[in-house]
Amino acid sequence: MKGAMIRVEALTRRFGDAVAVDAIGFEVARGEVLALVGTSGCGKSTTLRMINRLIEPDKGRVEIAGRDAREMAPDALRRGIGYVIQGVGLFPHWTVARNISTVPRLLGWDRSRIAARVDELLELFGFDPAEAGPKYPAALSGGQQQRIGVARAMAAEPEILLMDEPFGALDPVTRARLQDEFTAIRRRSGLTAIIVTHDMDEAFRLADRIAVMDAGRILQIDTPERLLRGPREGFVRQFVGLDDRALRILSLHRVRELARPAPDAPAPAQWVAPDDTLREAASRLIWEGGEALAVVEADRVTGEIRAEDIWRVGTRGAA
């Protein structure tokens, strides 16, 4: 992989006698999102924290955009990498706007540029800047705090974002919405990101590739679909979960990939949108008991999707 944004080689860290991270290596391409998944204590957070040198590795190296991280001053390195931590960690004595402007201030941006960036981010994350900016973190709900935490990490327009359980401790509805927001934002901004999570569903939703870790090692690193179709024996198989893998594979594909042409017509009562997942389309087909569904965009039928096509995607051996 030429021009990897993040390259990790033989990275090792011990705490006392215990090996937390054991000679792991991987690369993340520019614009790619990698998820590190595994159970608690598998070394995924330690790995993440070695990338921005919150923890120094015992052995191995980290390269950021081709430069050895050890050659950069730790504070400067961290200012260039967005970091979202478990537990959010907003500064309680600063307003939301001041929190978001933390890194731009450290970098010495001028006032007007900082103010514009803060407003831009607040809007991006669904806040009214005039209303939310002067508030203190304690006045926000948990979901709002986590969004501000992500906004703060993105404030200085970093090319890399490191996220440690960014959407943990949220109700499923809020979490799903934040995950969708994050996916939309990172598509637009071309961010490279590493996300640490113990939630396989979150990894499937957010990541281009997933690294399954156990006892300080990466057991398998692959795209979500290849991980579902060919998980290694043992821990990976167990952790990925195979009971509903056909449905999970369907959720990785969009209706537009399988839509067939259909004559233009007004939208019928039951339909799907091109960006809905095949899983959603399948669920609707099962519920309606039909063989095909209209694909609708802006109230007009633009195509149709057939049950047999969907089933084929979710079948063993398809790719």
């Binding site: 919150l54 960690g89 600063w94 933390t102 890194v103 450290l106 703060r152």
Partner: protein, 246 residues
């Protein structure tokens, strides 16, 4: 702002009135005195004694605060943890040592008057400031500290911009405690010739004049309550965030 400082202002006004017009206390003092005894201490103006008292406590408090803060910051830094036991032992010793004993040791070295009392009060006032500084800095939540490091704040920036402002309400409690204790403790300085309100009490004890003892004690107590409410107001102001919000 006003609701935090109304009580100390009223009390301070009362104290000033009593210092300048001590004869207002005579009806009460008459009940305590033997016939023929003086009721009001008049060898020095009470205002002069009060100002010296305040100067002594203020100067010692300032030094105790600076040293306590510095020690508290030092032992909570990554490289300073090993000094924790030593610093805690030293400040505990300062607190357990009776101030009168410190005076006894200090007088041969520093002579009589202001200096030995100043030293005793510094030593005595150190512990509350040190302990609350440590507690306040350690009380900053782990995610907040982790975020500050992860954002790339340097060690000094983390201390000044994040840790100290968040610890400030707790630290102010220690400074308040230290000050109030020392306003009372400073009276014993008069036994070694420090000028202060203790002089009135000591004179009363020596001459068997209960009226002197009572007026000295009342004025010192009023001063202590005054300082307590004022510093408490400051603490509540810090809690409300007005002092530390940027």
């Amino acid at each position: 702002m006003r609701r935090y400082f109304l009580a100390p202002l009223v009390l301070a006004a009362l104290l000033v009135v009593l210092l300048l017009r001590p004869e207002l206390m005579t009806p009460l003092l008459r009940l305590l005195a033997e016939p023929g005894q003086d009721l009001i201490y008049d060898r020095k103006p009470l205002m002069t004694l009060a100002l010296w008292h305040l100067a002594l406590v203020g100067a010692a408090g300032l030094v105790a605060t600076v040293i306590g803060l510095a020690l508290g910051i030092l032992v909570t830094r990554p490289g300073g943890a090993e000094f924790m036991t030593l610093a805690r032992m030293a400040s505990n010793l300062g607190q357990t040592f009776p101030p009168i004993a410190v005076l006894a040791v200090a007088v041969p070295l520093l002579g009589f008057g202001f200096e030995p009392t100043f030293l005793a009060l510094c030593v005595y006032g150190l512990l509350p400031v040190f302990e609350t500084t440590v507690a306040g800095l350690r009380g900053v939540s782990a995610p907040v500290r982790e975020a500050a490091r992860g954002m790339g704040l340097s060690g000094v920036q983390r201390l000044w911009r994040v840790e100290l402002p968040l610890a400030m309400p707790v630290i102010l409690t220690g400074i308040r405690l230290s000050t109030v204790i020392n306003i009372g403790t400073a009276t014993i300085g008069s036994t070694v010739g420090a000028v202060g309100l203790g002089e009135v009490i000591v004179a009363g004890l020596q001459s068997g004049n209960t009226a002197f003892v009572a007026q000295g004690a009342a004025l010192v107590a009023l001063m202590a309550i005054c300082a307590e409410t004022a510093l408490r107001g400051l603490g509540r102001l810090a809690d409300s965030g007005a002092l530390t919000r940027a």
